[in-house]
């Protein structure tokens, strides 16, 4: 996601040149992140798009306070934990396998 976000940013706003605060940067990181997610989302197969995009948004959210599973961010849980995603990824893998099998 980092290179895709950087692609949407003017060179002066990229991490190696930006000298301002993170709060200020977050204002333009949000649209850059939105662009990056939309780039990736457009590449995903229809049957997985919504789920993968949602996971991507949660795990790569540029604001660390909001990053992670919504239940963890809301309840003060560990937002770095991937526990809640294990079942989700498992389900996604099965969906993908099924789609591949149907396609062949």
């Amino acid at each position: 996601m980092t290179p895709l976000m950087m692609m949407s940013l003017e060179p002066a706003l990229r991490w190696q040149n930006w000298k301002g605060s993170f709060d200020e940067a977050l204002v333009f990181l949000r649209p850059a992140f939105a662009d990056a997610v939309e780039y990736v989302s457009a590449e995903l197969p229809n049957e997985l798009r919504a789920d993968v995009t949602s996971v991507l948004r949660q795990l790569c959210e540029p604001d660390p306070v909001k990053r992670g599973h919504p239940l963890d961010t809301r309840t003060g849980g560990n937002t770095f934990s991937l526990e809640r995603y294990v079942t989700r990824f498992d389900l996604l893998a099965k969906k993908a396998e099924l789609a591949l099998r149907n396609a062949s």
Binding site: P3, M7, W15, W18, K19, G20, S21, V27, R30, P31
Partner: protein
């Protein structure tokens, strides 16, 4: 018709451009930060390169490119990017774009602002609304949406996105300056000022300080930040580019309080590494207030359209003045100033009345009740020999407000419509009343322009009378400021040589 925008006070109020243009112009960074940036560990790039050399395929090239570009070292993987671009199938679209960025470099600002028609504006509005539906916390999209609404004349719709943006990013100079400009454009200078003043850290950001001082002047109130601004300029902690608008705003305050020497010094500081707004301010001051001998033409940052329009007019480069005004309008389509300037200039330095009409109509599409734009539209329509439409437009002008603001202009325009409607006698009565009003208010400028415009009409009815008016006008012109006198002489020349 009055001397267009020239006499209106000008302040270095913030420009309001789309985010991508602001960022590309290098105006998105306040210069206030001092973060120290570490050097990335490039060992990962070397490892990815080895992997790519072993497995010369797209996934490994993607890993290498992504890693290097993410570290800000895209130039080190140009070969991998070229490999991606040379691969015909199976390349994900984002990777292609990334590879193109590495090979071709970052996109540059277009040579001139993009001309977008009304339908195009609505497409943008639709896209931005969709973006906000999916990403409601995007303050920049909110501001860009508000700008589009303002351009298409839907200011009430712009209020909500501006308010949301301010709530989402109350500390962002881009958001705050844009929001302030929005309120200023709505005629609410007090709210514009309040928005800037309540920004956290306003006194430590040169761009916000500049906005506070300029907007306070526009609101005809005293700035609370003059001392902080002076101290910031004197300390010299910021690069000259970041201080350009601040020094310019302060210079204008000094000039208005009669301190020419101080103003000149500050303008010189503002022009060290100027923004185009600061250059336009210096050009306007030199043109309308006092010649400061600043060698302004040496400074020409990108998008200096307003400054170029003013300086071309002062140099007698009439076509260039109109052309620059067209670009100025594209750069700030919601602002009336370029429309005032363009609609007036096209009428007095040339006979291109269609262009004058276009300028007035563009301006009215965002500010439909603006008195000066309505007036300039009437003039352009009358000069295009469309008196009925001119009279209908004249009827839309609030006579009481017009008389309060500029009685002579309003009466003269009425006179012009009468002449073009084939009633020179009534036209003369109105023009006489206009001259009387100008004399009463001791406004030599209004008087000179009234005579010149009437002379143009009399050339069609009574050449002797026209000659008399031109003689009188010539005697009055020397009382005008140098640049205005030059333009008045141009009109005199046009009128003296009728078709």
């Amino acid at each position: 018709m009055s001397f267009a925008d020239g006499r209106r006070r000008r302040q270095v109020v913030p420009r309001w451009r789309p985010w991508w243009v602001t960022a590309r112009l290098g105006l998105a960074d306040s210069g206030a930060g001092s973060r120290i940036v570490g050097t990335p560990d490039t060992a990962t790039i070397d490892r990815r390169r080895e992997e790519w050399l072993e497995n010369h395929d797209i996934p490994h090239a993607a890993d290498l490119i992504g890693t290097a570009f993410g570290m800000g070292l895209g130039e080190r993987v140009r070969d991998a990017a070229e490999f991606v671009l040379g691969t015909e199938t199976g390349v994900p679209a984002p990777l292609l774009v990334l590879a193109k960025t590495i090979v071709n470099g970052d996109a540059q600002l277009p040579a001139s602002p993009i001309d977008i028609d009304h339908a195009g504006r609505h497409v943008r509005i639709h896209k931005l609304k969709n973006r906000l539906k999916n990403w409601p916390h995007d303050a920049i999209a909110c501001i860009d949406l508000a700008r589009e609404y303002t351009i298409v004349g839907q200011r009430p719709n712009a209020l909500k996105p501006v308010t949301v943006a301010l709530a989402l990013a109350p500390h962002s100079p881009f958001v705050v300056r844009s929001a302030a400009r929005f309120f200023l454009n709505c005629g609410d200078a007090e709210r514009a000022l309040a928005v800037v003043r309540r920004t956290p850290g306003v006194s430590s950001d040169p761009w916000l300080l500049a906005a506070e001082i300029a907007i306070a002047s526009a609101a005809e109130t005293s700035s609370r930040m003059v001392r902080a601004a002076r101290s910031m300029i004197n300390r010299g902690h910021f690069a000259p580019r970041h201080l350009s608008e601040l020094a310019s705003a302060l210079a204008t305050v000094e000039l208005e309080s009669g301190n020419r020497r101080g103003a000149r010094k500050l303008f010189a500081a503002a022009l060290q590494h100027p923004t185009e707004n600061a250059v336009a301010q210096a050009e306007w001051v030199s043109s309308e207030i006092v010649e400061l001998d600043l060698r302004i033409s040496e400074h020409a940052p990108e998008r200096s359209y307003e400054a170029r329009a003013l300086s071309s007019l002062g140099e007698g480069e009439w076509d260039a003045a109109v052309e620059s005004a067209k670009l100025w309008r594209l750069d700030e389509p919601f602002a009336a100033r370029s429309a005032y300037f363009g609609s007036w200039t096209a009428v007095v330095v040339s006979k291109d009345f269609s262009t004058a009409l276009q300028f007035a109509e563009f301006g009215l599409s965002t500010k439909p009740e603006d008195l000066l734009l309505l007036n300039n539209k009437v003039v352009a329509l009358a000069l295009l020999d469309r008196p009925n439409e001119a009279a209908r437009t004249l009827g839309k002008i609030d006579a009481v407000r017009a008389a309060e603001k500029s009685e002579a202009t309003y009466l003269a325009t009425w006179g012009l419509v009468e002449y073009r409607s084939g009633r020179p006698e009534t036209g003369r009565v109105f023009y006489q009343r206009a001259r009387d009003a100008a004399k009463k208010s001791r406004n030599a400028r209004e008087e000179a322009w009234t005579m010149l415009f009437q002379a143009r009409e009399e050339q069609r009815f009574d050449r002797q009378r026209a000659h008399g008016l031109l003689v009188e006008a010539r005697a009055t012109i020397h009382r005008l400021r140098r640049r205005e006198a030059l333009v008045a002489e141009r009109l005199l020349e046009i009128v003296a040589q009728p078709d």
